[in-house]
Amino acid sequence: MNTQEEQRLQTFVNGTPLDVDPRSIDRELTALWAAARTGVEPSKAVVRFSILNLIVMARNSQQLEPLTSQIIDLTMKHPCRAILLVNEGGEGASTVKATVAAHCRLPVGGGMPVCGEQINITASGGDAAAILPGTVIPLLTSDLPVALGWPDWPSGALAADGWSLDPALFTPLLQSADHLIVDSMRFGKPNSNLVRLEALHEQDYPSIAITDLNWLRLLTWRQLTAQVFDSPSLRSYLPNLSKITVRYVVQDDRPLNPCQALLYLGWLSDKMSWRPSEISPQESGNSAITLRSSTGSQLYAWVLTTAADNIWAGDIAEVVMEGSYNGVAATFTLERIAFDEQPQADGSKPPAEHIRTIIEVQGQNRIERVVPLGKQAWAQLVGNALGNLGHDSAFEQALQMAVWMSSTTGTKKVDKGVRGGR
């Protein structure tokens, strides 16, 4: 190996993007890995490892850097072949540029560094969207699952069906995938994008499993809600709840996004066989939803906004469930809190990274508990999604319910059952 080849290998193994010919990406990678296996020195040898193909569509080339750092985090637990795509669009003849990099980590307990790989492909020109799939699909490692991550959904003008993702790019990539990963927290048009997502699952690609990272952010909320009713004495309150209030965060500089709150309420309604009977959107992202149980009794759900600067916009800040059983009233509260009240160095509030559960039953002691919310970074959530690559029926049912609750214009009487069923 000459000095130039050694430098090239070091650049690659260190994780710095290395320019490669887009027509021979796989061949170049094979040669680099063959050299890296033995190492410039034996002590620097590494192991190439991959458990899946992950395609991620970046909104623009500025996103490459933050996405790369998230893929490095992801590689810590899920070494993979990550392919980042950028469609720069534009006019004229199309061009494609590609880089490759390795992301290595030391295994827990020692051993040779374990490395995944990242391929960045940037296309520009009039046919950029059309030529990207043809560049990407041959790069998919056979026998490994393919997950397609499409973090950003359009916020611009929507087509008549509420859909403006470029079909020349999206469709062939989705057809090559086993799993679609989206994030409804980043939907440009939350309500109509939610409707489109459900149609994608129900009608267009029922065989492709869909994960919404926003749904995974709800995991702790769902877990803690279920735990409240694990006690047989409190479980009797579950079908006797009369009012549920879900507050989600709005911030002045961020668009309204009720998706997380709606998915939570959709999940709870589905599990309890409640069906929405009337939806009354209020001003500024608030909604009042009347739910009906299978025997016809009613309960009222409020999806309300609340201001907070230490919680991400769109995240749930609080859930309050109220009910009565045998004449004894009870309130169950889950709230995001910053356990450490001390302001940060810049004077801002510390982030609210805990959830406090409060159980108050009339005439009994109040029970409180604080637990960590759990890591919510992109890499963590995608890692969770990769741990379960199959269909998530709980999500699919919650999505269906959320779509029904997401009406934003005028009072809607729901006079037919929600499709499907449990």
Binding site: F49, P107, V108, F229, S233, L238, S293, S294
Partner: protein
């Protein structure tokens, strides 16, 4: 018959919590209290309290969960809490997180008393009753015996006398007891202890813990065997030549001499850890993944191993004790020179044995078991050696010998699975060499597994006894081990020490295998 309540949810649906349906998460137990006897001891500090703390951080404990420490030291609740906080800071796999810890503190109490002090147990009963009311623990309790085995009987009897062992004693709820190893010192004492336990708790309430079963890699033996189709067809006497199970420790007896002197390697390691690994390796596929289905199959394996008579013990069991030597680049003393060890001790720090499982699957296949202290490395592995190819096809090409295929399941450290097979060396002539195909947990998953105690404590709270040993299982394992102990009683006393610290055990252990045409693997 099912009825509808006011809001229309079927009451039978309410028997379980419908919110857990489809949740891709570990279930959490109902609110409960855990009483730890011997809470000021080493196990509670190093393992139990850190395990409970980590379960809380992972949100796997229920709201209202309470810990009651029971010990002889005259602590207040505050002193107890402060000591447990130190334990977490020192031994937890995660740093102390104030929010979670403060929530745990709300339900943390201490009861001071001797294990034979009936009034202390009445105080305990009263406290548990208060917790039911104040923390909504619903009559659910786990008792954890983290005490010397000599105290088990009186603690169990006093739990019974205080009336807190009964299921549904408060109108609802469950009661379970976790008992640490060693469970007895031979078959008669194990039977006696079982009968004492059953005077107070029925078998479904009893969780005999062997922390080895909480290890991910031990659990993976069943997944490896029964979630893949390619191994089970060759997992039998037709293809397997021998099996070696090694649990090697590089440390000496350290501070456990008080216990170890009376136990030795056979009772301390073979009766539980090695026997469990043997059973998981050799058992038939269970009818389902329920606790009793799996334990039924393990018991069948133990019952298929005939107890050894003294002649067989002399031929097929080797015991050893380390003398002075070197370990980790340092001179180390022999077993008899260790603190609190008798200078004439005949306690074995090493055992190797050959067992046969007399059933259709394993007839004639030797299972070699080996464990010892002060061996060169700390390592546990199960190695399955396959029979040679029936015909030496490459003899005319100059290849005269082929190595056996070996499948090795590494339990610790460096957890993984490796397969040794023959491969052609690239050249113009026929040369064959063994190569290894390796799977490493830390490479594939990049995650630190939870401590075994976290898994086992959670399983007990959830009522899943799959990874705990059943009374008949313990007794069946003791039947084999007791036959060896009985054999040793009538055989000439051993000539100890008979292996150097830092070596792979006594010469006789190697000779036992070489007589069969094998050698011990070097893990």
């Amino acid at each position: 018959m099912t009825t509808l309540n006011a809001a229309g949810l079927l009451e039978e649906q309410l028997a379980s919590n419908p919110l857990w349906e489809g949740m891709r998460l570990q279930r959490t137990p109902e609110p409960c209290a855990m009483v730890i006897f011997g809470v000021t001891g080493d196990l509670a500090h190093r393992k139990l309290i850190p395990a409970l703390y980590n379960l809380a951080v992972d949100r796997l404990l229920p709201p209202g969960f309470s810990i009651v420490g029971f010990g002889r030291r005259p602590y207040t609740d505050e002193q107890f809490r402060a000591e447990m906080e130190e334990a977490i800071k020192q031994f937890s796999r995660r740093p102390l997180e104030p929010g979670t810890w403060e929530s745990i503190l709300q339900g943390m109490h201490y009861v001071q008393g001797d294990f034979n002090d009936e009034r202390a147990f009445e105080t305990l009963a009263s406290l548990l009753s208060d917790l039911d009311r104040e923390r909504n623990t619903g009559g659910n309790r786990v008792f954890y015996l983290s005490t010397p085995p000599s105290t088990y009987e009186e603690i169990i009897a006093n739990i019974g006398a205080a009336g807190i062992a009964r299921q549904n004693w408060a109108g609802s709820g469950w009661t379970r007891i976790i008992i640490e190893k060693p469970f007895g010192t031979d078959l008669p004492t194990a039977r006696h202890l079982n009968s004492k336990v059953h005077e107070v708790f029925d078998e479904s309430q009893t969780y005999r813990i062997d922390h080895y079963l909480g290890k991910e890699t031990v659990q993976n033996i069943l997944v490896f065997r029964f979630a893949n189709t390619i191994f089970e067809p060759i997992w039998n006497r037709r293809y397997v030549e021998s099996v070696q199970i090694t649990v090697a420790e590089s440390l000496g007896v350290e501070e456990r001499a008080g216990y170890y002197e009376g136990a030795g390697a056979l009772r301390d390691m073979v009766q539980n850890h090695l026997m469990q690994q043997l059973a998981l390796t050799a058992m038939e596929p269970p009818s389902d993944f329920e606790a009793d289905a799996i334990r039924d199959e393990k018991v069948k394996i133990f019952r298929s191993i005939k107890p050894l008579d003294p002649r067989e013990v002399a031929e097929r069991v080797v015991r050893g004790q380390y003398g002075p030597g070197s370990s980790g680049g340092q001179q180390v003393p022999g077993y008899r020179q260790e603190p609190k060890v008798s200078p004439t001790s005949n306690t074995e720090s090493f055992v190797a044995m050959k067992l046969f499982i007399e059933n259709w699957r394993w007839q004639g296949v030797p299972f070699y078991l080996r464990t010892g202290k002060r061996l060169p490395v700390r390592s546990s592995e199960i190695a399955i050696t396959f029979k040679p190819v029936p015909l030496m096809l490459f003899r005319d090409s100059g290849v005269t010998q082929l190595d056996r295929n070996i499948l090795a399941l590494q339990i610790q450290p460096d957890e993984g699975i490796s397969m040794k097979f023959e491969s052609k060396v690239p050249s113009t002539r026929m040369q064959i060499r063994s190569v290894n195909m390796d799977f490493r947990y830390n490479t594939a998953f990049g995650t630190q597994p939870a401590d075994a105690y976290e898994r086992l404590i959670l399983d007990c709270m959830l009522g899943d006894s799959t990874l705990f040993t059943r009374a008949d299982e313990v007794e069946a394992a003791w039947t084999i081990v007791t036959s060896i102990l009985d054999g040793w009683k009538v055989l000439p006393p051993p000539q100890f020490p008979n292996y150097e610290a830092g070596s792979w055990g006594p010469r006789e252990a190697h000779e036992m295998l070489s007589r069969d045409g094998f050698v011990w693997r070097r893990p």
